[in-house]
Amino acid sequence: MPERKTIAAYLEAVQGQIRWKRARPLLVRELERHLEDQRDDFLKEGKAPDEAERLAVEDMGDPVTVGTELDRIHRPRPQWGLLGLTIVLAAVGVFLRVLFRRPYFRQDLVLMRALASLGLGTAAMLGMYFLDVSRLVRHARALYIGTLVMTVPLLRFVYPTYSFSLVSALYPLAYVLWLYSFRGKGWKGLLLTILGGMPLAAVCCLIPSASGLFILLFSGLAATLYAAGRDWFGVGRWKGVGAVLAVAFGLLAFLFLKGYLNSFLLRVMIALRPELEKEHRGYMGWALHMFWEDVPPLRSVGGEAAMPVNAGARLFGGGQELRPIDFSHDFLPASMAVAWGWIPLLVLLAALTILLLWMLVKGLRQSYLPGHFVVLAVVLTLGFQTLFSAALNFGFVLFSASLPLVVGNFQTVVDMALIGLALSVFRGNSIAREGPGRPIPQRKRLRIKFEYQ
């Protein structure tokens, strides 16, 4: 084999051995800098430029051996298990949406739309799965502003269901990207991070989307506490956490003084005891409580379900003009429990929880810190959606929420794209690198889990 004597030829030979294209530039850049340093030192010793370059290359060792070794270490880590589980859950969602469709909807159309959502969702998930997350975090602020600017005009023209899905899914991620961009920026960075949440919250109030707002507030608070707990802003761990908590409590006090908190607490009380207002604001919750009383652990297939779709009116007999409950869409999980018993619903919720916990544990274990934030945003978004949907379906009616991957065609596509993004973090972890600056010190995993569970 002819000896390679120039830096460019050497690097090309190394690159030829590395099969993962995305890893090549990063690995080659480090070797190139080393070769240049070595060549410059030989030049300082008085060597001629050609000789200095040749000696630097010879000093590095055999390019094929070096390339092969790097290829062995840097391989994409396929996430087939999590991809498969996501597709299976989304397919279950298709089945449920077709089975528990509104009676006046044509089955073939519902089936076609549900299958299209599964196909589009899978494509979106794979598209995001093959995305380089480091590029995403490199343009974090631009993406935050882009999300805000793009979604505001869309809200006027897009069907509300799509607006809710977009806002509740994308805003926590946009906020976390914004947060990421203020690493080591001190108190100013912390302040700007928190201020960045306000325009997003304002859009949620304008839609209005209560679930979008609460998902944003809860996930934003959790992500900011997580960042402050790792001294992301460089103001000190406990000072940062204290400041974030102070802002959160300050906001609560402001809402209380303005009277908003009182009306919210009244809503919570009605959600907890809907029978107090069963003919008005508590109707939905009370009706659900009534239905849940008849739900067995398991109902034999083919048995008569106690709650057909649009069955709410029968609760009050024919004398009262109360609007019927639409037991499709957000209440699809409850319909499923009424038809088959509560055990199948618990199994579905458990499967979703396992998927999200699996992603969270993997996300916090990997070494790439920006990846932590992306995974955290995705898991918190889908986690709160699951939690709110479960609460809604079990009769705690505070605001609408769709069960991820199960309810809503458009919602399924958005959820699958989000999961694909989180999985791309795991796939590319071996070449994911920190940006400039010293790494933030690692903390014990157990403490991180304890604080944010």
Partner: protein, 115 residues
């Protein structure tokens, strides 16, 4: 003094982790520092060092970050993690035990020869 390759390769991760114990370094600095500290005995090839560093990073013993040096060039510095510090302690203990055992055997052989 030229050492046998197998003697060096087995202990190389220990040496690299030890170098990082005192502070963050980039690859070129590590090679120079290793030569200096070993009185020019360990001449580690860069082609051996970088795959080793990347495998240590995979194990979580070191993390890497980019920083612009005074020269204006961007360098990739390596930082010893807490996990890496524990691994270093274990490797040092194992190495010291091994070195003592080898020393005792060599010393014992010399005594017998002299008896």
């Amino acid at each position: 003094m030229e050492l046998e390759k197998s003697l060096v390769s087995g202990s190389m991760s220990l040496l690299v982790l030890k170098l990082l114990e005192d502070g963050d370094l980039y690859g070129y600095q590590m090679i120079a520092e290793l030569r200096r500290r070993s009185d020019d005995t360990f001449r580690l090839k860069a082609g051996t060092l970088y795959p080793l560093l990347h495998s240590l990073e995979e194990k979580g013993f070191v993390t890497a970050y980019e920083q612009t040096a005074e020269s204006g060039k961007t360098r990739r510095y390596y930082h010893l993690t807490k996990q890496g510090r524990s691994a270093l302690q274990e490797k040092e203990t194992a190495w010291n035990a091994y070195a003592r055992a080898v020393g005792r055997v060599l010393k014992g052989g010399a005594c017998l020869a002299g008896a």
